[in-house]
Amino acid sequence: MKNTRIKVAWVGLAAAVLLAPFFAARAAIESMLPQVPAKPCGTVTVAAASDLTFAMNEIAGQYQKASGCSVQLSMGSSGNFLTQIENGAPFDVFFSADIAYPKKLEAESLAAPGSTYLYAIGKIVLWARNDSGVNVSKGFSALQDSAVRKIAIANPAHAPYGRAAEGALRKAGVYDSVKSRLVLGENISQAAEFVESGNADAGILALSLVLSPTMKDKGRSWNIPENLYAPIEQGAVVVLSSKNQQGAKNFLEYIKLPETAALLARYGFARPANASSGGRH
């Protein structure tokens, strides 16, 4: 017992000695920096579906410039964010890839009533690397090729893009022939990573990711006919427990501006019918 105590004391002492220079350095650096006055509007914490990875970075950058407020982005799977917000995650705004999730939060009194906003409609494409030898211009029949051994989609169990992909494959009547070759990404970004890294031969991905600088020149895509899948209606909502309600509302208003809608369109999102009126869904 006594021994243990002495050991603990030694470890504590060693940690203090090792860490002291870091704290000293930090204090020194902080004292040299000019004091930045606190921003009046604080920080807006945004949870956004991973299909928005590239578009949201640009939107957040522009918003910070325009408003002087800072935006903190967390990108991930919509289903995961839903679960996290239901369990008290400290997000101010939630951009879901499926409007059903914000609506669910509203129904559960976890989102500001009537704040759900349909900000975009997502599209899916069949995508393959240029060097994969898969000719995606043939559409789904390209997947029948035996050279296509793995096809990446997002997990239909909880990812909206995965559901759309599975729906399209079913409706086109090819689901049974590709089922055994599907690999499931935890979200649409991971599915894209599987194909982009060459581990999967083809994938059904979000148009918004395929148009991003990192993927644009690496592969070819085929637009999946929109009558093959239910529209991927994407909704945003203000989280009720947010400590920055005003900041959250301001950011959501910024999304409704025609300039922002145009930016989303550039990233391959279809503009919902209500976008110009800023109406609610």
């Binding site: 289903g79 995961n80 990446a152 997990n155 909880h158 690999v183 060459g198």
Partner: protein, 225 residues
């Protein structure tokens, strides 16, 4: 309750424990008895997975062993496919990831054997292999059991690497930890509850079993950490 995922996790864990018993023993033996001056480098490499986040291993397997890099091309021509999204890929990742959990208790067991008994066996003309099988192993069985049980349990509990390189294929790479993650993401709390409780009980009883029957082995393990 997804029995397919449970069975897959069990299969993976049994294979990993078996492979590590075969591969880990020689490594542990070498670490214990080698007098090479740079031995500490090998010890550091073996211990790496304890420190490295699973994302690092996952990243190397996905990208480094992907079809666009040399190692990936080699594995492609060797097995006909790349490692991600296959049971074999998970197996290799898990073996690497659990390596220290087998090797360290094995080595601790060997270390605890009285050196004089080993030398006595040698002077009586027993070969190194005979000495190992008839003297060292019986005297360090506690370490061997601990290593096998820990690598088995560690594999059951694996999540990060599998999430990164598995591709969530039912019956092939959808292990029980991934299944729970999926259920939580889809807000199927009932299904997640059931599986989580079973995993919790299993882990508790596995550890209780080693603590109860093998106090010596555990103290060897603690000596390492």
């Amino acid at each position: 309750m997804n029995w397919q995922a449970v069975l897959l996790s069990l299969k993976l864990a049994i294979c990993v424990a078996g492979i590590l018993l075969a591969v880990g023993m020689p490594i542990a033996y070498w670490i214990t008895f080698s007098r090479w001056r740079l031995k500490f480098l090998v010890e550091a490499i073996v211990a790496l997975p304890i420190v490295l986040p699973p994302t690092v291993l996952g990243y190397y397997i996905l990208v480094g062993l992907g079809p666009r890099h040399f190692a990936g091309k080699m594995s492609q021509s060797l097995f006909g496919h790349t490692l991600p999204f296959t049971f074999g890929g998970l197996l290799i990742a898990s073996v690497i990831y659990s390596l220290p959990f087998a090797v360290q208790p094995f080595a601790a067991g060997f270390e605890s054997v009285d050196r004089r008994l080993i030398e006595a066996a040698w002077t009586l003309g027993a070969s190194r292999l005979t000495t190992f099988l008839r003297v060292i192993l019986p005297l360090s069985v506690a370490g061997a059991v601990t290593g096998v049980v820990l690598s088995f349990a560690h594999t059951i509990g694996e999540f990060g690497v599998v999430l990164m390189v598995g591709g969530n294929i039912p019956g092939v790479t959808r292990t029980v930890s991934i299944d729970i993650y999926d259920q939580v993401q889809a807000a199927n709390y009932d299904a997640a509850d059931q599986t989580a409780v079973i995993l919790l009980l299993f882990s508790f009883f596995a550890l209780a079993l080693i603590y109860g029957t093998n106090r010596r082995a555990l103290s060897l393990w603690r000596g390492f950490k």
